[in-house]
């Protein structure tokens, strides 16, 4: 119970801290608009204009992934700049419990990006919110976001060690969009990308959300696989984080100087 309280309070604190940044607010306002526009024009140009909502949801998932990826790396870099990374690590808790609320907070702020993308799609491009399984959609979006937050912990463990995490972020954003089939169907990608996509929780998260929107398949198996892979990432991330924290103390990378 105390662990749940700790994670909940930590997540709330980091969500509040992130949501009060002017940069974050400006990004949160405009990026979903760009994502929705991208999705709409891609699908209008294609042969399936009726799949606009699917495209908007895919764009929303892209926004969630971007938020988790840049949030995990950026938030840890931000903690380092603020001098709070050392203060967090100094508390008598396993390092994973200190970082997980940060990655979860980035996923929660990503939820907003999903909602904003759908709203922009509706307001600007008149995409109707005609969701096949509304209940499944309402469950799968937060569950997928929770899953991506858990995956974020594994990513974050590398960011504690590497002060220049932004370079890693940039290299991971677009490839994961692609191989996870968030916007472009996996079937049009080369065969060798299949196993990579199947191993990523982002793929299953995007699939579960898409299935809830289109009704093209059962949502729960995809969501289950997403959460199972994410849980494995959480366990691996927690183990790696303890090792990484020790390395960071040896290499003096917890502080800026």
């Amino acid at each position: 119970m105390r662990l749940v309280r700790l994670v909940a309070r930590g997540t709330l604190l980091h969500v509040k801290q992130m949501s009060r940044s002017q940069f974050e607010i400006a990004t949160a306002l405009f990026v979903p608009l760009v994502q929705a526009t991208l999705a709409v024009y891609l699908f209008r140009a294609g042969s399936e204009p009726h799949r606009m909502l699917e495209a908007a949801v895919g764009a929303g998932m892209m926004a969630v992934w971007t938020s988790v990826l840049f949030g995990s790396g950026g938030a840890i870099q931000m903690q380092r700049w603020q001098g709070t990374l050392e203060m967090l690590m100094l508390s008598p808790r396993p390092p994973a419990l200190l970082i997980f609320p940060i990655t979860l907070a980035t996923a929660v702020t990503g939820t907003y990006a999903m909602v904003a993308t759908l709203l922009w799609g509706g307001l600007v491009y008149r995409i109707p919110l005609d969701i096949a399984h509304p209940l499944a959609f309402v469950v799968s979006v937060p569950a997928a976001i929770l899953g991506l937050g858990m995956f974020g912990l594994l990513l974050a463990s590398t960011f504690v060690l590497v002060p220049n995490a932004n370079a890693v972020n940039n290299a991971l954003e677009y490839p994961v969009w692609l191989v996870s089939g968030m916007l472009v169907p996996i079937t049009v990608l080369p065969g060798w990308t299949g196993p990579i996509g199947a191993a990523l929780p982002t793929t299953w998260a995007a699939r579960a959300v898409r299935e809830s929107v289109t009704g093209a398949g059962p949502v729960w198996p995809s969501l289950g696989i997403c959460l199972a892979i994410s849980a494995a990432c959480l366990v691996a991330g927690a183990a790696v984080m303890s090792y990484v924290e020790r390395r960071a103390r040896a290499n003096a990378t917890l502080a800026l100087a």
Binding site: R5, Q17, G83, E86, L90, S91, P92, R246, R249
Partner: protein, 332 residues
């Protein structure tokens, strides 16, 4: 004798690599074999110039860094292998603007760190209230930290460091950049903590602060402890000296160098205070250099001239001036 902190031959070398095509490895010995014993309930000062190894020593003791060699124990627990046990028993406060969630209130910051340090939920409200009262932030606890003055931030740092009632408190230059009134309040808070049995390890640049607060003081320079004792014991390092202070307006560097070279003069320095300067000349006790110094200042407008006994600051300068800088090794 119960020890709160013990360090044996503590050493820390920083290794950095620069360049891609022609990489160079640079090694800096920040701490070079520090031995330290701090008794429980003692208020212990660590004095030293910038880059002397004060902060690195504190970070080695509070588990933020792993020593390259040597060992240290805090409250009987090893800082490398029993990290969690050490962390439960220590608080860490550092000076400056960083280390807080600026866009949140003091209450948000304190609540989260209370949770992190395992303060029971039922006790959190009372404990936070007590600490806000102690550091004088009651009534401002719901304001965002970004609107706080440097002194208020510093007091919030202290409140956070005390949430879990640590046995040992590390204070790393807590009064840096704080105005004199706030610094006095800070000293009073620290003295109060020591009076209740908390062991305090304080690093500072301010001699008066160290002299007023600390039971014992170690002077660290070049990564090594150069002197250790009470303030009065340390003043012996300046024994055999007398100090002449001259208020002046327009002393040049050449004149200071000329004075430093006078027979019997051990050191000379000038400090700018407001619109004027204070020239401090340390000389051998048996030699009266006053007339020679005044002759060297011919043509300079002078104010008060005083001769005084050496202070802790004079002793500190004497200790630090005799030390080499830490070594930097560069390898291709």
């Amino acid at each position: 004798m119960a020890l709160a902190i013990e360090a044996r031959a503590l050493r820390r070398t920083y290794r950095t690599r620069t360049g891609w095509l022609n990489p160079r490895r640079v090694e800096i010995d920040a701490v070079r074999g520090v031995d330290l014993d701090v008794r429980r309930g003692e208020l212990f000062g660590l004095l030293g110039p910038n880059g002397a190894g004060k902060t690195t020593t504190i970070k080695l003791l509070n588990t933020l860094l792993i020593p390259t060699a040597g060992s240290a124990r805090v409250c009987g627990f090893d800082v490398v292998t029993q990290t969690r046990e050490v962390r439960r028993r220590i608080g860490y406060v550092f000076g400056g603007d960083r280390g807080l969630y600026d866009r949140l209130s003091a209450l948000d910051n304190l609540r989260y760190f209370a949770e992190l340090y395992g303060v029971p939920a039922a006790a959190q409200k009372r404990r936070i209230g007590e600490l806000l009262e102690l550091v004088g932030l009651t009534g401002r606890e719901r304001d965002r930290v970004e609107g706080y003055s440097r002194g208020m931030r510093q007091r919030l740092h202290i409140a956070r460091g005390l949430l879990h009632e640590p046995e040992v408190l590390f204070l790393d230059e807590p009064s840096i950049g704080v105005d004199p009134v706030a610094a006095r309040e800070l000293r009073s808070t620290v003295a109060g903590l020591a009076a209740t049995g908390t062991t305090v390890l304080l690093t500072t640049h301010y001699m008066a602060e160290a002299e007023e607060l600390c039971d014992r003081i170690a002077v660290i320079a070049g990564g090594e402890i150069q002197a250790l004792g009470t303030a009065d014991e340390l003043k012996h390092y300046a024994q055999g000296r007398r100090v002449l202070e001259v208020e002046a307006f327009g002393v040049t560097d050449a004149q200071v160098q000329g004075i430093a070279a006078l027979p019997g003069v051990r050191a000379a320095g000038v400090e700018v205070i407001g619109a004027g300067q204070v020239l401090t000349v340390a000389s051998e006790a048996a030699v009266d250099v006053q007339s020679d110094v005044l002759r060297a200042l011919d043509g300079v407008r002078l104010g008060r001239v005083t001769a005084r006994q050496p202070t802790l600051e004079d002793a500190y300068v004497a200790i630090v001036n005799g030390v080499d800088r830490p070594s930097v090794a560069v390898a291709a």
